[in-house]
């Protein structure tokens, strides 16, 4: 069962990812990215038992980040790319580089012993939200607090960046 779901999710994820790169329309790219992210979230949940991260992934990425992307695309009114300005040689070399790295990666994975799931060690974690919450507020409390400062800095920075500076001189 896990195998079937794994193949479905990974196929959907990779096809949608290729759609991001290949589609000419920026809105189509953004929607493909959203589909890819949703498939990734489903893989977190149904294959990797990380249900909390599945919810976080859908809420933050498919919710907030993608809406932000679509908002900016609509705001800037970006047209479809009208013609290829990158040369054919450039695209060929770029794809070849990515394919070469991928082939190398797969070669490394094939040459290593496949790692089976740790079946018995503590059993499957079903209350992962509970475990993550406990870890987050005990062992990782300081990084958690620092993250809140980071978010504050980001919010202030965004406000500063998007201010129209009036009559600068």
């Amino acid at each position: 069962m896990e195998a079937i779901l794994f193949w479905i999710f990974s196929l959907g994820m990779i096809v949608a990812g290729i759609g991001v790169v290949l589609s000419r329309n920026p809105v189509a790219s953004a929607l493909s990215l959203a589909v890819s992210i949703v498939f990734l979230a489903l893989m977190y949940g149904f294959c990797l038992n990380a249900w909390f991260l599945m919810v976080i992934q859908v809420a933050v990425y498919a919710g907030a980040v993608m809406v932000l992307f679509l908002f900016i695309i609509m705001l800037l009114d970006i047209k479809e790319e009208e013609k290829r300005t990158r040369g054919r040689f450039y695209s060929l070399m770029g794809s070849a580089l990515a394919l070469f790295l991928m082939a190398q990666f797969i070669a490394v994975l094939l040459s290593t012993e496949p790692v089976k799931a740790a079946v018995t060690a503590g059993g499957p974690v079903n209350d992962d939200a509970h475990v993550i919450g406990t870890l987050l507020f005990t062992k990782y409390l300081l990084p958690f607090e620092i993250t809140s400062i980071l978010l504050l800095v980001a919010a202030v920075g965004v406000v500063l960046l998007s201010l129209k500076r009036e009559s600068s001189s």
């Binding site: 990215l33 990425y61 992307f69 062992k139 980001a154």
Partner: protein
């Protein structure tokens, strides 16, 4: 149907990362490049979660949580930068954005 091992997850993660890399290399619109970067971040997250399951080590999921948080903040700041750049230059294509000084 064969058993899914950690190597399968790492392969999918690598594929997603390489698609993102190809997007960064091939596309010219800075917004699409930014989306491809997000995809690469997601690929790294996938490998972290896979390791977390196969090593039974929940701390990796905490790290993914932080990565998602930082990525959300980064997207907000980056898109604000792109909008500011668009206001000055009137374009988002990378071949027209060749100077650091505005």
């Amino acid at each position: 149907m064969m058993e899914i091992t950690l190597n399968h997850y790492l392969g999918v993660s690598g594929a997603l990362f390489m698609i993102g890399l190809a997007g960064v290399i091939l596309r010219r619109d800075i917004l699409i490049i930014y989306m491809s970067l997000e995809m690469m971040l997601n690929a790294a997250n996938l490998s972290l979660v896979a390791f977390s399951k196969y090593q039974n080590f929940m701390d990796a999921q905490i790290m993914v949580f932080f990565v998602i948080t930082v990525a959300a903040a980064e997207v907000a700041v980056g898109l604000a930068l792109i909008v500011a750049l668009y206001r000055v230059k009137g374009t988002t294509r990378v071949q027209d954005l060749t100077t650091l000084k505005l």
